[in-house]
Symmetry: C2
Subunit: 197 residues, 2 copies
Amino acid sequence: MSIASLTPTTRSVATQFDLSTGLAAGTASLRRPLSAMAGMYADAEAFAVAVAVEDVLSYEFYDMGVPSLETEIAYGTSVTYPGRVGDEYFMTKGHFHTRLEAAEIYLCLSGEGLMLMESPEGDVQVEEFRAGRSVYVPGRYAHRSINTSATEPLITFFAFPGDAGHDYGTIETKGFRKIVVERDGVPTLQDNPRWQS
Amino acid sequence: MSIASLTPTTRSVATQFDLSTGLAAGTASLRRPLSAMAGMYADAEAFAVAVAVEDVLSYEFYDMGVPSLETEIAYGTSVTYPGRVGDEYFMTKGHFHTRLEAAEIYLCLSGEGLMLMESPEGDVQVEEFRAGRSVYVPGRYAHRSINTSATEPLITFFAFPGDAGHDYGTIETKGFRKIVVERDGVPTLQDNPRWQS
């Protein structure tokens, strides 16, 4: 990621996203192969096997380079591909905002899944994604997209304050308190055995 | 519209929008019949006739009641219906943000049209809307959605800083410097004969 500008935008920008793939031709996405998720999945053995078999692309998203100012709106699409590591669904790393109070809005364009949200104090909230459903992530909540479909990518459009920033480190170090696994074919919220207080 | 809260959100909110209509069942939209657009169209006679024949719904959009704070994200969908007043396409009133510097992002979900943007100094920018195309409206630019299709609604999803606010008065009083009319079947940018400096 480039260093964000502090100069306000003065020109409009149009970007063509493909609503069926979530991708914008000619714009570089940030790609997260499964190997980039080391330590994030509960089943470390299943993770090692999965990466060894094929280090597939687990998700990708866009950073459109919007200035880091509270008057600007960072935005883009996020595509989480279908798959599992053991019983746990493919998901994004998830993050807090560096400006912790900054909220975020998601609109699900296609696919199905869950938004897992967690405050520093441990309050956990979960909302469903399906096509056309918006999910408002309140300020102070870390958030992670989880694809619960076995076949379809989960495609969302997101927008948040330009100065929000990303704090990935807290989740990389501690994890979320909860994970979502498939039990008898149903997405199920469980305590994360690897969570560190 | 209710008075916006200054208390940050603490709960997630999910809303189901119908991607084919742009509407959220059970959530009240703000509806703008053609009669609400008095003085906005260049051809006053055509406007009077059109309203007398049938005061159709020209556009509607949502105010989801997000707190008026820079850390929050106001969002919703906007649906501009197909139609014309004389040669001029159906459009939204358009507005500046009260916090003039606040930018806005739009994602076109379906239909086709234009985003007309204008700064207080008179710089005019125009971007095309079509399905999947995002348009970033820079801070300081008034913006108006224009539906150039003869048959399809123009449906967009929008997001802007929670504290941006709406200044409709400036456009209601002065208008935009430019209008978009159909000439030989093609959307064409022209000077607004009713614009007041």
